[in-house]
Structures are given as structure tokens and as C-alpha cells.
Amino acid sequence: MIINLEDRIILIIQSVLDKRPEINLDSHLIEDLMVDSLDKLMILSALEDEFAITIAEDDFADVLTIKDIVGKLQEIV
């Protein structure tokens, strides 16, 4: 089964954020998913592994939603 980039990213984020509400593109990292700085690091690490890339944390400093993460990743991948 081929899944699109957005779904792939959501699946990766779900794998490291246990016990959180449903995640979709509009989910706000802090308000909806209660993501703290360590969660964010864990998300970025998981994305690095999934896409075999190196992420500079500073590039993702201003992301607020899942959609923002997808946008940043589309620039890199």
C-alpha cells in the first residue's frame, strides 16, 4: 500500500506521541497535542529516521501545526 507524505508523517508522529487525541493536519502541537520540547525532539528524531535526513532543530522552531511540519519536510525531502 502506498501512502502519501502527509499520512506517513502523521503515522510517524503518532508512533512517538502515545495517549494523545487523534492527530490530523490541523492539529496544533501545543494546544491540541500538548507537545512539549522533548516531544518535539522525539518527533524530529523519528522523522530523521523515517526519511534518512538530518534536521536542524532551528528550522522547525516556528512550526505550530502538523501541516507546518509537512510543509517544512516537503522543502527538505
Binding site: 512517538v16 522533548l38 522525539m42 529516521d49
Partner: protein
């Protein structure tokens, strides 16, 4: 820039406390921890402090502290590297090393300082620090100060940890950081397996045993004794203000590490040495643990079980714990405040 803006952004939201007419933080204690405690004038049973073994008010510990004050005064008014390194300090370092079964030890004013000061000494931007997602704030703050790459692993999840270790190549050194007992829920780390993974991938394990020292192990010597970890080559930190019933923090490990920290750990080098009261008090507690641990531990386990059952009977949602900690799940912050009603 306006000076008023500076103070404006320092505001604390105390609205819930104001609505409830009660703030659970910074309660004024009118007593020590002997028997029932006095809080804001009310007599209460202490279920909140970390005085696991009940030794904070033990007569023998108090007498040792008084004797130390008579000999050394209340402070040496100097850092250990200068005028603060009294014989009591040196003797305690040796006793603590023996207690946890490691080569050497340094003693800092708190474990927060130990954890904060450790990583900036031993790690840098060329290193990777892999840390349990639920590790204590002192470890996280310390790790961040090192400027290393940080990768959290899912709480106590060996599979996730090993995956990260497998993929982590090209670093000067990889560190794996966790706690023995996670104090909010009383869960114990599978540290023996973590050490084995570290050996397999040549990573350096770092364990904070603050809630394990004096509690875990057949003699109360902590996580290494509890899990039968022999010849530990990693780094060990612990608080001396919980079961050890005084104040201070320790870092133990191989002689080369500890000697390096003695000169380069600024949190040690530039902090006034732990007071004679605490040094003597810790020594007395170690003596008591040495001779009476069996009995104290039985009482601790019994009390935890009784409290657990009582809380369940009272309708509370209590987390099942592997350590002598009973953690009540309150839900929201608002629900937490209503516990008092």
C-alpha cells in the same frame, strides 16, 4: 525596551488558587517530620515528603549533626576545592562510594546541581545524549546545557532505545540517560538491560538513583544492587535528601571521571561545600541503613500497602507502583484542587 515590561512578563497565573481560596504550593510547615506534621497550624500525616525511611528526625542522626556543629560550626564558608573539604567530607565520599559499590564520589549541594553540572563537563556538540522521555527536569536541563544532539526514547522502552542506538553512528560518544525510579508513578527502569545495550553499542550509561538509594536492593544500596549490576562502568547520580534524609547530591563512578569533575565541574568548584550538619547526618543515616535496613524496609513496604488499600477504599484512582510510592491520579488541575474539599 521598557523596564515595566520586564516585570509584566514575570506574572504567575494564580487564579485557580484565588478562586479556591487555597494554594497547595509553598505551604508553611510549623514542625519537622517527627510524628504528625504541622501545616499552617493543622496536624497532618505526612504522605508527601521523600523521607522514605523516616530517618530525618531520628535521634541518632540529630545527635551526629549536633556533634558536627560543635566541632566545625555551621559552615566552612568555602568551596570544597578551597576551604570546604573537611575530613568529614572526605570520609563521607569514601563511605558513599562503598555504599553504592563504585570507585569514587563527589558530593554537591543538591542532586539538581549534580545533574545540571555533569553533562556540560562530559559531553559536547560532537556527542549524542539519548534520554528517557520522562526523565527528571534536572537531567534535561543538564543535558541541554551540554549542546549535544538530544534524542529522547519512549519511556522504559528498550526496543525504541535499541533502535536509536543502532542508528546512532558518527558521534564521539553516545550517552544513555535514565532514572532508577520515576517518582511520579513509582515505575522502575529496566536498567540492567539498558546497561547491556550500552555495552553492546559502546554507549555510556548515566543513572539518577535519587528515589532508589536507601530504598532499593536487599541492603538499600540502590538500583545497582537491586538489579544485580556488577562492575558498572557508567555514571551514577543520586539525591541525599530523600531516603538519605539530609540534603545534597552525589556523582559516583570511575576514579578518572570523578577526579576530572573535581576540577572541572563548576557546580562543585564554585558552590559552598555541603554543611557539616548534612555531612554528619548523611554518615549517620548510612550507619543506620547498614544495621537496620531489613526492619525499616519491611515497615516501609507494609505502610505503602496499607496506604494503597486505604486510598482505593477511599475511592481514589491509585497508580500501581513498583516502588514505595503511591501516586493518585487526579485528572485536571481543577480536580487536583478539589481533593482538599
Amino acid at each position: 525596551m521598557d523596564l515595566r515590561n520586564f516585570y509584566h512578563r514575570l506574572s504567575v497565573d494564580e487564579s485557580l488558587a484565588e478562586v479556591r481560596g487555597y494554594n497547595p504550593y509553598y505551604l508553611t510547615m510549623n514542625s519537622g517530620l517527627e510524628g504528625k506534621i504541622s501545616v499552617n497550624g493543622h496536624q497532618m500525616i505526612d504522605l508527601a515528603s521523600n523521607n522514605y525511611l523516616g530517618l530525618a528526625s531520628d535521634l541518632r542522626v540529630k545527635q551526629a549533626a549536633v556533634k558536627a556543629v560543635e566541632k566545625y560550626g555551621v559552615s566552612l564558608c568555602g568551596t570544597p576545592i578551597a576551604t570546604g573539604y573537611i575530613e568529614l567530607y572526605q570520609r563521607l565520599e569514601e563511605n558513599l562510594s562503598r555504599f553504592v559499590g563504585l570507585e569514587e564520589t563527589i558530593i554537591l549541594p543538591s542532586c539538581y546541581q549534580a545533574n545540571n553540572g555533569l553533562f556540560s563537563c562530559i559531553a559536547g556538540p560532537q556527542d549524542l545524549i539519548v534520554v528517557d522521555r520522562l526523565a527528571h527536569s534536572s537531567l534535561i536541563q543538564g543535558i541541554k546545557s551540554a549542546g549535544s544532539k538530544i534524542r529522547p526514547f519512549l519511556h522504559n522502552n528498550l526496543e525504541h532505545l535499541e533502535g536509536i542506538l543502532q542508528r546512532s553512528t558518527g558521534y564521539r560518544q553516545v550517552f544513555v540517560v535514565t532514572e532508577s525510579v520515576f517518582s511520579t508513578v513509582g515505575r522502575i527502569a529496566p536498567f540492567k538491560e539498558i546497561v547491556q545495550l550500552c555495552e553492546k553499542y559502546q554507549a555510556m550509561p548515566v543513572i539518577d538513583d535519587s528515589h532508589g538509594i536507601g530504598v532499593l536492593g536487599k541492603s538499600g544500596h540502590g538500583i545497582l544492587e537491586e538489579q544485580g549490576i556488577e562492575g558498572y562502568q557508567g555514571i551514577y547520580t543520586a539525591s541525599l535528601g530523600k531516603a538519605i534524609a539530609n540534603s545534597g547530591g552525589m556523582i559516583s563512578g570511575e576514579k578518572r571521571l570523578i577526579n576530572y569533575l573535581r576540577y572541572y565541574c563548576s557546580h562543585l568548584v564554585y558552590s559552598t561545600a555541603l554543611t557539616p550538619v548534612a555531612l554528619a547526618g548523611i554518615g549517620a543515616v548510612l550507619d543506620i541503613i547498614h544495621s537496620e535496613f531489613d526492619g525499616i524496609k519491611k515497615k516501609l513496604v507494609f505502610n505503602q500497602g496499607e496506604i494503597y488499600e486505604s486510598l482505593l477504599e477511599g475511592g481514589f484512582e491509585v497508580v500501581s507502583s513498583q516502588a514505595p510510592i503511591n501516586s493518585i491520579q487526579s485528572g485536571s488541575q481543577n480536580d487536583l484542587y478539589s481533593f482538599r474539599d
